[in-house]
């Protein structure tokens, strides 16, 4: 295989590449924050006039809550009653699976194609 000689890249195009990469990184990190995707489904199951007993705390546990600065059950209510909802959204799970599997399939196939060129040139097709 003939040795591949890459084209020269102008300084301006190098800067454009850098700007593209930075913009993509910012978008990937900032967009989920902005769109509110970075979070989990959970809700506070409210108890009116909470007591430590209603919140399911034993006397020893209450002692630790107090040491941590929670003077009464009302102060700890939102922490104790903040419950997760693990109901599975099957459509979202399917989409996520397809995206991840598709990504890795493309990654390995395209990498292999590039790798064969590298090996061919490195070992001169021998």
């Amino acid at each position: 295989m003939a040795k591949y000689t890459p084209p020269d890249q102008s300084r301006a195009m190098q800067w454009i590449d850098i700007i593209f990469v930075v913009a993509a990184i910012f978008l990937a990190l900032w967009l989920p924050l902005q769109a509110g995707w970075a979070g989990v489904s959970r809700a506070i199951e409210k108890i009116e006039n909470p007591t430590w007993e209603l919140l399911g705390q034993t006397p020893v546990q209450v002692e630790q809550w107090v040491k941590l600065g929670f003077a009464d059950a009302a102060a700890a209510h939102d922490i104790i009653q903040n419950k997760f909802d693990y109901t599975i959204d099957w459509l979202q799970l399917l989409i996520m699976t397809v995206v991840i599997v598709g990504y890795f399939v493309f990654l390995f196939r395209a990498s292999d194609k590039e790798y064969r060129e590298v090996i061919d040139e490195k070992f001169n097709g021998k």
Binding site: A28, G39, Q92, L93, M96, I100
Partner: protein, 467 residues
């Protein structure tokens, strides 16, 4: 201007990274990055599934990372080049995978650095009171990131010497706390049986245990960063496996002690809520000395982690420039300090920007997502490595036992962790993978034209089997 050896066709003075590090530095780099995970983050697994779930996850995820350490030790002791897993991917899977792996590394470490800076500012704020305003908070974040970037700029030996000292202090603080609470005498200070009861051990059942895998990663995330020092250690074949495995043992012990102390002192709802479980544990002992010690140790652990992350992210970015995957401008080595200074400076404003707009939980999640993608690659990578160069065909610094069991365990646990992330951050994970797809398409169909083909393969190995 000085470029690294393979960076440019123009006549240049060749300056390489300095080989000055030993096994202790490798340990300091790996444990330094990870130890902060004992001080914050792991406990959110308790939030997801209860205190017992956090313990189950501690050991199961410990198995995942033991597999990572074993696999990494074999491949890196053989492919000893800056960029770590990036260099492995380049030689074993192909250029596009290497490009992606470098992005995983940069994302994981930069967001981990961001998390550490936020943690330091949050910890100081929690103790400073109302006088610590928004500008003080931002100032603390900026100071941490800029000072540590400057340290990294000035040289790797000093950077990792500092890491060794502060990591050792932060680790010793856990040991001191453990013995101070009389672990041999339940009921004196610790009250495990009262805090973890049959009723509250697994409040969400086994789905909560699986969901907790997401945060369980934080117990050990970053230990694989030891490989980034491959080009700067004096004896990669000896130092990298030794430093990485010693680091993993250190962390498994530290994580188990941390769980035992915290689970015995606070109700699971609080444990899953707090940002400072070990600091709170110090507070709950009633000893002002222990509380102050854990306050200082929390700060030191976060500083060590941020310091190691800057080191690792910069080397991954530097490697991309050196191989022309990105403009070669990034591949410059400082003529005096012998560090990848442009990469360090380039990543500095990105870290600062996200430290100001993200909160701790979000920054940690970004880091975890890239980490899991990375570990998925590693499980396939070792299989390909053994197939292309079977044992005996090339010299390996270390050969890990029980192959392919660690690879299979790693892959299965990665799949479980994807599902765990889906249970909380599915849309975010999908969005990040879409980003990697866009970057892959950009690289494969555009950027790769600027890459020299055969020059990427730098190891003195025979042709891989099957090619």
């Amino acid at each position: 201007m000085v470029q690294a050896a393979a960076a440019s066709s123009a006549p240049v003075q060749k300056v390489s990274l300095l080989r000055v590090l030993g096994p202790a530095h490798v340990w300091a780099l790996g444990v330094g990055i990870v130890l902060v995970g004992e001080y914050t983050g792991w406990n959110f697994a308790a939030d997801k599934g209860g205190t017992l779930a956090a313990l189950i996850i501690c050991w199961v995820i410990g198995l995942l990372y033991t597999s990572v350490a074993m696999i990494d030790s074999e491949v890196t002791s053989t492919v000893a080049a800056a960029g770590g897993q990036y260099a492995q991917a380049k030689h074993i899977v192909g250029p596009l995978m290497a490009f992606n792996v470098a992005l995983y590394l940069v994302f994981a470490y930069t967001m981990l650095e961001v998390s550490n800076a936020i943690l330091i500012a949050d910890t100081i704020k929690a103790y400073a009171g109302d006088g610590f305003g928004d500008w003080h908070y931002r100032g603390a974040i900026a100071t941490v990131i800029v000072v540590l970037a400057t340290l990294n700029y000035r040289g790797v030996l000093m950077t990792l010497n500092v890491n060794f000292v502060i990591t050792a202090i932060a680790y010793l603080a856990i040991i001191v706390l453990f013995f101070s609470v009389q672990p041999w005498s339940q009921g004196a200070v610790l009250k495990l049986g009262e805090m973890v009861t049959p009723e509250n051990a697994l409040p969400y059942g086994w789905i909560g245990v699986i969901a907790g895998f997401h945060w369980g990663i934080w117990y050990y995330l970053g230990i694989e960063g030891t490989t980034q020092a491959a080009e700067e250690v004096r004896s990669p074949a000896r130092s990298l496996p030794y430093g990485t495995m010693a680091g993993m043992i250190t962390l498994l012990i530290g994580a188990s002690l941390t769980w035992y102390i915290c689970a015995s002192l606070m109700p699971w709802q609080y444990l899953g809520f707090t940002y400072y479980p070990l600091l709170d544990a110090g507070k709950l002992t009633g000893s002002k000395t222990l509380e102050t010690m854990m306050f200082i140790a929390t700060i030191l652990a976060a500083v060590a982690s941020a310091n190691g992350c800057i080191n690792d992210a910069a080397r991954a970015w530097f490697s991309l420039g050196r191989d022309r995957y990105l403009p070669t401008w990034f591949s410059a080595v400082h003529p005096k300090y012998r560090t990848p200074y442009r990469s360090i400076l380039f990543l500095l404003p990105i870290a600062l920007a996200f430290a100001f707009i993200a909160n701790l939980g979000q920054a940690i999640t970004f880091s975890i997502l890239s980490g899991v993608l990375h570990y998925t690659f590693m499980s396939v990578n070792i299989i390909m490595f053994r197939n292309k160069w079977p044992l005996g065909t090339i010299r390996r610094g270390y050969t890990h036992p029980f192959h392919p069991l660690p690879a299979v365990v790693l892959f299965v646990l990665c799949v479980v962790t994807y599902f765990a992330i889906f249970l909380g951050y599915g849309a975010q994970l999908t969005a990040m993978v879409v980003f990697y797809i866009i970057m892959s398409v950009w690289f494969h169909f555009y950027r790769y034209r600027y890459v020299k083909r055969g020059d990427q393969f730098t190891m003195p190995w025979p042709k891989p089997r099957g090619y």
